[in-house]
Symmetry: C2
Subunit: 495 residues, 2 copies
């Protein structure tokens, strides 16, 4: 190891530490901050982001990246590679384009809120046109620097190690499968009959206490985490101080309980990252799809399994009282594993969710390629959803306006959701094979067998490997939708 | 105005914005953070402090400070003066001394916690000796740069515009006054008889809701503030997002209620700072003594007045129920204005509090002058307290070990408490003269007359004036203890 590499480590530690400060401030904005603090908070986050960017693009950084010789060790070699990658991304985009995007995204997001409320796409069309134009410029600038196609260069910002060419055939196959399988699944569901809805009210304080217990039982330690309330559930904070949030409803416990288990999956990933590479690029989570695989393996694979629901029913009955049959395993299964063709992605079940992602993946590729104009987006959206799910949104609020992502300049992110869901199924299959006691433990509400396996095979790997290589090392194959299909088959297509 | 001054304004805005980020992170540490986040938080705050220090001492900063020409306006001229002053303070102390102090203070504070728990001064003597040695070096470095005596150079770090020579005669007179007046006050108090203690329990949630109402009624807006819980009450956050804290006791409401009113005074000061100079040195609060004057004018002058207590009694009765005579004005007065010779500064009443400060002022001046060795500190403490209040602590935990300040390297801060108390009385007398409806409003729980006057005469002045000049402009005279003595006379020495 030479001095240049040591200096780089120190600088990246500093950048990551600033990132931690921003993460805590971001959490505070969403959970604690009085409204009047918003403008100042925006300035605080902008100054921190500006300083990080200055450090990352400083001339001394470039010199050291050229001269660096890490110890002959795959971790340090990967670390230097990620440092160079981050520097390449940061320097490829001209400063005035970064600024223009920041302004355009903020302006568009602002207008979008009103446009969505009024189901009025035309109101935000000019702003979205500008945002898309600038993202295309960004993609064009990143593409040669990263030696990736423009769209893949955007995807790379969210998930390294997988591109549109890997994803497209998998998504196409799933669309085909869904076309045939969804009617069958609906028919079987109809034959099983509806769930008996549990009787509320579900006092938020009781649900919150239950969520804390469930999260703790899943392995999240009080000394290193918090559970708070926010409008949109998220996992934030830092690896030694993870902050998860949810919201509570008097009339329903399920979204809060399943939401907290989902965020607990994210939090456990952060908690399990390799401490010896803390604050180094290689010590970070492997990307957004990898992160989503960890939330979904906990929420969808483990906690919506028959085994776990059997245990959870007892906890629910103890928390809320009432008729016991509401919380019996079969009823809980019908309740938490109900499929439905819907317009809204965030409300979708796991079988139809990929259709929402596939639609966005198709449209955003076309937008970046210049094959689709923003003005044609609502029509393309409605046609696409009709083709995928056989339904058409009654208005654009339930269609093209529903998600913030594009209006905030985030293009290339959507595939991560479904890649995460498929990876979760693939990892679960491998974990079940490697650790036969896994389901017996889930039936006791105990996730430690699963989480122990994930810690070794995913969490502790940090960013050593890209998405496909991480799956290869953990499961013996790169991303393979077979396990997800088998999971859907077993859960929704088996009598 | 030239470019150099414009660049300075931008840089100081950035430094202040980083300071805001640190303030929110500091608040979070004390209120929200799980214990396991402590180490990372320390790193985050250290990185932010390091970046601020780098910006403040950068060569370009020195060049611009030399070349700057502000607009011909007292605010901008004062702003440039304060920029130069901050730069002078930051560059006067060598970086290795700053680092040595940071390490020594942290180590000493750590050992002090155990030493205080065991009432064992000898355990922390080596660490305190090192801390004092380094503070003396710091004072020696600051002294020529600021053209102040070494002790005044330390005081200047907490409160600009007043020095030991101004303070010493005022403190000496008060010590003499107390010697004669305290026995008289005690005798009168004994003659009045004890307060009937209100019956608890006082449910923390009820007290918290009451505190919120009182703070709001005093003028602190929900949109720009929060009230939370912490072990040690404080006011933190930023001017548009002020965060106050307190703690609650089942057996007593008074410390929480009076504590929140105290912190509300601090918070109102921050809220009233001049927005047109936000994030500039001249837009900040005028110093620690000025800040304490604002907390004490609300807590001690306004909210322990007969007028306010008359109104508060109704609020308490409504909150807790029980026998009404407990919350009658005279009983509340006896309860919240009880004087007692005690060992502990933070528990002291307003009449004996200055004795605790005078003791520390004498001892820390002697420490910095080299006239008192750390080894002789416990004896000097006990002798001093005996001379001032006629009592001797049973052990060092109730004596020299009670306060964190010295063990954390804070020397020159203690006078601010009593300067604030005296300034509060002086400002209250001036406000009463200028706004005759002030007490009638207090009798309705309405602080707006007082706060309105303070906003114009103190808050909106920011750091335009030093401590004595601020008082001169607001009250027609520099710090003058006459009003404080008259206040003590009226409240404790009048039948």
């Amino acid at each position: 190891m030479n001095d240049a590499y040591a200096r780089l480590q120190a600088r990246f530690t500093r950048i990551a530490t600033l990132g931690e400060a921003s993460a805590v401030l971001g959490w505070d904005s969403a959970t604690m901050m009085p409204a009047g603090g918003g403008a100042a908070r925006g300035d605080q986050l902008a100054v921190l982001a500006g300083l990080s960017h200055e450090m990352l693009t400083a001339p001394a950084m470039a010199d050291d990246l050229d001269a660096a010789q890490p110890p002959a060790d795959p971790w340090h070699e990967a670390n230097l590679g990620l440092m160079r990658h981050a520097h390449r991304r940061a320097t490829a985009v001209p400063a005035d384009l970064v600024e223009a995007q920041s302004r355009a995204n903020a302006a568009c997001e602002q207008v979008w809120r009103g446009a969505r409320a009024n189901a009025d796409f035309a109101a935000v069309r000019p702003q979205l046109t500008e945002v898309v134009k600038l993202v295309r410029e960004q993609a064009a600038a990143l593409s040669p620097a990263l030696n990736l196609s423009p769209y893949d260069a955007l995807m790379d910002g969210y998930q390294r190690g997988i591109g549109a060419q890997d994803v497209a055939p998998i998504f196409a196959d799933y669309a085909k499968f869904l076309h045939e399988a969804l009617p069958r699944a609906e028919e079987m569901q109809a034959r099983r009959g509806d769930a008996i809805p549990p009787e509320g009210p579900f006092p938020p304080a009781a649900t919150e206490a239950l969520c804390r217990r469930l999260s703790r039982a899943a392995g999240l330690e009080d000394a290193h985490s918090r559970l708070d309330r926010s409008t949109h559930p998220f996992c934030g904070g830092t690896p030694t101080d993870v902050r998860i949030t949810t919201r509570y409803y008097e009339h329903d416990f399920a979204p809060s309980v399943m939401g907290v288990l989902h965020e607990t999956g994210h939090a456990l990933y952060e908690r399990g990252l390799p401490q010896s590479f803390a604050r180094q690029p290689v010590g970070e989570a492997a990307g957004m799809a990898a992160h989503e695989s960890q939330s979904l393996i906990v929420e969808m694979q483990a906690c919506r399994s028959d085994a776990y629901l059997g245990w959870l029913g007892g906890q629910l009955l103890q928390t809320y009282g009432g008729a016991a049959d509401r919380y019996a395993p079969e009823n809980l299964g019908r309740l938490t594993r109900h499929i439905a063709r819907g317009f809204i992605r965030v409300d979708a079940d796991e079988m139809t969710y990929p259709a929402h992602v596939i639609l966005r993946f198709q449209l955003e590729q076309a937008l970046i390629a210049g094959d689709l104009a923003v003005a044609d987006l609502p029509g393309a959206w409605n046609d696409g959803l009709q083709a995928l799910l056989g339904i058409t949104p009654p208005d654009d609020a339930k269609g093209v306006l529903q998600d913030i992502h594009w209006y905030d300049g985030a293009i290339g992110y959507f595939p991560s959701y479904t890649l995460g869901a498929m990876a979760a199924a693939q990892l679960m299959a491998a974990a079940r094979k490697a650790a036969p006691g896994l389901d017996a433990a889930l039936a006791q509400g105990d996730l430690s067998v699963l989480v122990g396996w994930l810690r070794t095979n995913v969490h502790a790997k940090g960013s050593l490997l890209g998405f496909n290589d991480l799956l290869l090392a953990a499961t013996g194959k790169p991303l393979d939708p077979t396990d997800f299909l088998a999971h859907i088959q077993a859960r929704y297509l088996t009598a």
